[in-house]
């Protein structure tokens, strides 16, 4: 049953997505100040939320991985970290597009923009450490994920702490109802897709580990037979 979950999610997302695009572009009023370019907001914001959610997930899984030496937690942490990179890429591309169209600057060195970029780099370091590090580096990577997760609140409050060109935190809470209603489908579609990807990646990683163990068991049996023959 659990095996089908990613497929189910992707199918539902495939249905919700066209509906969402339709709503956003054809049935939502154009924003007064920023014009059509503002529509990117409906993709940019969910991606940003997802990025932070995955960062926190990766961090929490990393804590479990270190405290209990749990292999499942490690796989979850890794899969979530890769999704931080994917969604982060979405945020860091849609953001500048929006910025350029609206304010004429793609990269404004705004605090939230910068700290999001840094979060992306932290998790890029995570993936690099896992790949190119030596034997004990999975624990080091876990520490990275934990620090990355701690970064998330810093990003969230970055707008409050510094003067920035970024629309304030209050924007989403004060959206008029029609815009809010268009945000939901986009959020749902993107969430379903990314969670589906997470589950697929997780399963892939766990299968890899199971293969390693099977290999070892097989060799063990082989070794035994050779010894007794």
């Amino acid at each position: 049953m659990a095996r089908l979950l990613p497929t189910v999610f992707l199918i539902v997302a495939a249905l919700v997505f066209p509906y969402s695009v339709d709503r956003i572009f054809l049935h939502t009023p154009i924003e007064r100040e920023m014009g059509t370019a503002q529509k990117i907001f409906y993709f940019h914001v969910p991606l940003a939320w997802l990025m932070m959610a995955f960062a926190v997930t990766s961090g929490i899984a990393a804590v479990v991985q270190l405290r209990r030496a749990s292999v499942r937690a490690e796989a979850t942490s890794l899969a979530a970290a890769e999704l931080v990179l994917l969604t982060g890429l979405g945020v860091l591309i849609t953001g500048p597009i929006w910025g350029h169209a609206t304010w004429g600057h793609a990269w404004t060195w705004d605090a939230r923009q910068v700290t999001t970029g840094l979060l992306w780099l932290v998790f890029a370091a995570y993936v690099l450490v896992r790949r190119y590090g030596a034997a004990g580096s999975d624990r080091l990577a876990a520490a990275l994920a934990i620090f990355g997760a701690v970064d998330v609140p810093i990003i969230y409050y970055a707008v409050r702490i510094w003067n920035t060109t970024h629309p304030g935190n209050r924007v989403v809470a004060t959206l008029p109802a029609e815009m809010w209603n268009s945000l939901w489908p986009a959020l749902i579609a993107l969430t379903l897709v990314s969670v589906a990807l997470l589950l697929v990646r997780l399963r892939q990683e766990l299968t890899d580990i199971a293969l390693d163990e099977a290999w070892i068991l097989f060799n063990e049996r082989d070794g035994h037979e050779q010894q007794h023959s």
Binding site: S70, L128, A135, G136, L140
Partner: protein
């Protein structure tokens, strides 16, 4: 183990590192000269800036220098450990692992703050806009210590992790810069507030202190797990039930 002995052990280890350093002064000289070079280069590049532009440039200069000296210091300190594998000798001794972390962090912090003893007066000398740093020495000292502490607390954890696993040095740069930049950015903002006489300076200082507390606590907590790792075998065995 009593917490008093944790502090004493950290002190003994830090003193040990300093004693070794006093034998050849390599680290102190390298870091010191590096700070001088940074000063000279920025002095030459930015001397023509008007006062307002200077206020914007100086914080960046200062904390960029700290970032580079920090990476240099951590690399040197832990390269020695890695070459002789002495970290392992400490890990098998009846020494609290956290004392190892605290000792190393203390030495790194000392070197960084020491380099600031070159950087800050140098900046004051070169740029008139940096005068507030001389006029308010206590605030400047607090800023320098808190900023360097943020860098040190994170850097020591990861440098030690890499040193003990025969890992590659290049990864340290990849890890260090993204992790320390948020705190350094806050330090930059605070420095600018100091130079402008901005009323929010103390608030920023407080926030920097809060970040220090968080990163320090997190690093101390994670140090042992990263270096040695937990043992799941007992838990797994009991979950699987008795064998045979």
């Amino acid at each position: 183990m009593r917490s008093g002995s944790l502090a004493r052990q950290a002190w003994i280890l830090a003193r040990n590192d300093l004693r070794q350093e006093s034998r050849d002064l390599e680290l102190v000289l390298t870091a010191g000269f590096f700070s001088l070079v940074v000063l000279v280069m920025f002095g030459l590049s930015f001397s023509a800036l008007d006062r307002h532009a200077q206020v914007l440039a100086i914080p960046g200069v200062l904390w960029l220098a700290v970032a580079f000296v920090g990476a240099l210091t951590l690399t040197r300190i832990f390269d020695r450990e890695r070459e002789a594998d002495t970290l392992r000798a400490l890990l098998v001794a009846p020494v609290e692992r956290q004392a190892i972390y605290l000792g190393k962090a203390a030495v790194t912090l000392l070197v960084l703050v020491g380099c600031n003893a070159i950087l800050v007066p140098g900046l004051v000398f070169l740029f008139p806009a940096a005068a507030p740093m001389a006029e308010r020495p206590l605030e400047t000292l607090a800023l320098v210590v808190l900023g360097c502490l943020a860098y040190t607390s994170v850097g020591t954890l990861f440098a030690a992790g890499l040193a003990s696993s025969s890992g590659k040095n290049v990864l340290l740069s990849v890890i260090l810069y993204p992790l320390t930049t948020p705190a350094l950015l806050l330090a930059v903002v605070a420095t600018r507030a100091l130079l402008e006489g901005h009323p929010l300076f103390l608030t920023y200082l407080g926030q920097l202190a809060a970040i220090d507390v968080v990163t320090l606590a997190l690093s101390v907590w994670l140090f042992e797990s990263v270096l040695v790792g937990a043992d799941a075998s007992a838990r797994r065995r009991s979950a699987a039930g008795p064998r045979r």
